[in-house]
């Protein structure tokens, strides 16, 4: 398979904090249009992996390519210019208004028309429209999450990397988010999502499981549900 067929490929990634090593040779790839769900217990290193991928943490070993380019040594802002956005756990700029958050999300990667983009996003998350002038710090936890998702979408990425998008969202909104994501999927968006909410299996094309900083499993949703042990551990099906 020619390498440029991979939208993103990470191989043998090692990373950590200070003297502590968290990731031990992680391999993962995402092809265009794919949605990869990254599962793993707390502390398995999901967040660390995502951050390494987008360039917020330096990979100590291994290589990361994006759209055929080696980005291992590239700064995060340059990586993202290649068409990737990241929804972090913090997700918002607390001192900026909702609208400004969305504009920043769009402008960071040079979107041509941030104003119009914000309008489109309000269509998806009407709650945000009501509070467009309020500072993001005044939002409730779930509202922040919505803003975070909207902000990450604002730049119209080709690959969207999300860290626990559903945590703190009410069931209604989880459904709404899933609907939005599958819509975007149809339009060719690739996704890498670290999640605990198995509802996201609905949109996933592949699943990877991290355990203690190593990939324990990687395969299709069906392959995963066939695996008794994994199912028990990660889906909570009794």
């Amino acid at each position: 398979m020619p390498p440029d067929n991979f939208l993103m490929q990470a191989s043998g990634v090692n990373a950590g904090y200070g003297t502590m090593r968290v990731l031990w040779g992680v391999d993962l790839d995402i092809r265009p249009g794919e949605t990869v769900l990254l599962l793993g217990a707390n502390g398995a290193g999901k967040t660390t992996f995502l951050k390494t991928l987008v360039g917020l943490i330096e990979a100590r070993e291994g290589a990361i390519t994006l759209a055929g380019q080696d980005v291992t040594k590239m700064r995060s802002s340059d990586r993202m210019k290649l068409g990737m956005t990241y929804m972090s756990e913090l997700a918002v700029f607390p001192d900026l208004s909702i609208e400004e958050n969305l504009r920043v999300g769009a402008q960071a990667l040079g979107h041509a028309n941030p104003g119009a983009r914000a309008e489109e996003l309000y269509g998806i998350f009407p709650v945000l429209r009501d509070k467009r002038r309020a500072p993001a710090s005044s939002l409730s936890g779930g509202q922040r999450k919505m803003l975070g998702i909207a902000k990450a979408l604002a730049a119209e990425p080709k690959l969207l990397v999300m860290d626990e998008p559903s945590a703190g969202l009410s069931p209604l909104f989880v459904k709404e988010v899933l609907r939005v994501l599958s819509d975007l999927q149809k339009r060719g968006l690739s996704l890498l999502i670290a999640e605990q909410n198995i509802g996201f299996l609905e949109v996933a094309t592949r699943v990877s499981v991290l355990e203690g900083g190593r990939i324990r499993f990687s395969g299709t949703v069906a392959e995963m549900t066939d695996n008794e042990a994994l199912r028990r551990a990660y889906f909570g099906l009794k």
Binding site: V54, S76, S77, R103, S137
Partner: protein
């Protein structure tokens, strides 16, 4: 007396806004405690001396020169100093020490080259390009420059008016920059949360370097007027200017250029009122006032409350 003090306070205060506006970018936006701010002001004044004594030109021409030069200086300094700062646990606090050192260095170098005595520029020099232009275009007397300007039947130094006008332009410039340009919005994002800005894909270093550069550039612009506003300038001038700038910026609330404008005017008016009615306490009351306002509005005049949990 009241009217005079009020108008003088507004003019003088607007100048203080100019003094503070650059600091607002560096401190309010970037969270760098630039203890050398006043020293950049002082250097701006020396740029003006240079323009006048070496080139014999109107010090107003020093405004663009000082701005451009110090934007570049700022960007270079940023590249040298700040990335290392950010490697520390608490960059904001460490910047205090770093910029204290820088302030010492600037003062020392200026003293070595220019000596310690007071320097200034004749008031008539400021705005002489306009006079020259007027004489060229409409004829008239070239001598009648630098005279006072009348407001409400009272006369004020022409340099104050020029400085206040420049200040308004600078404030508008910063406001438009922060709120109407792409770079500005991103700057505010960086100031709101640096790590999230990185996660959003913003080129944090470039944005910050620009803000830092503009901050120093504006400090230097304010410095161009310092010889007119303070009579004279020495290399030691910076320390007091830094103190006042911090007061003005904090009074108006961090990060907000309109706040700095307001902070400057409030400071200026109070200063002039006290000078008029309680002159020997003139240096005490602005500080008391600053404390009072902050206690009433703990995040500055235009600051806003934050959610705690």
């Amino acid at each position: 007396m009241l009217v005079y003090a009020l108008v003088a306070g507004v003019l003088f205060g607007l100048y203080f806004s100019l003094v503070g506006i650059g600091l607002n970018l560096v401190f309010g936006v970037m969270r760098i405690v630039n203890l050398a701010h006043g020293d950049f002001l002082m250097l701006g004044a020396f740029v003006a001396f240079g323009v006048v004594t070496l080139a014999g030109l109107d010090p107003l021409l020093a405004v663009p020169v000082a701005f451009v030069v110090f934007v570049l200086v700022g960007v270079a300094l940023y590249k040298i100093l700040v990335p290392r700062l950010q490697g520390s646990l608490n960059p904001e606090m460490l910047s205090i020490i770093l910029f204290f050192g820088l302030s010492q260095v600037i003062q020392a170098i200026t003293t070595i080259f220019f000596g310690t005595s007071e320097r200034s520029i004749p008031s008539s020099a400021l705005g002489s390009i306009f006079t020259t232009a007027r004489v060229k275009l409409f004829g008239g007397n070239a001598d009648d420059t630098g005279g006072p300007i009348e407001f409400f039947g009272q006369s004020f130094p022409a340099s104050w008016v020029t400085a206040a006008a420049t200040s308004l332009v600078a404030i508008a410039f910063v406001y438009l920059y922060l709120y109407r340009t792409r770079l500005g919005t991103l700057t505010r994002a960086v100031m709101s949360r640096r790590d999230e800005a990185l996660a959003t894909g913003i080129d944090v270093d470039r944005i910050s370097a620009a803000a830092f550069g503009i901050g120093l550039g504006l400090a230097a612009v304010a410095g161009v007027f310092a010889p007119f506003m303070f009579g004279s300038v020495t290399p030691a001038f910076g320390a007091d200017a830094t103190v006042t700038s911090f007061a003005v910026v904090v009074l108006g609330s961090l990060g907000n250029p309109l706040g700095t404008a307001l902070g400057g005017v409030v400071y200026g008016i109070c200063y002039m009122l006290v000078q008029t009615y309680l002159s020997s306490w003139a240096d005490l009351l602005p500080y008391v006032l600053l404390i009072f306002i902050l206690l009433l509005r703990p995040s500055g005049l235009l600051g806003r409350q934050v959610r705690v949990a």
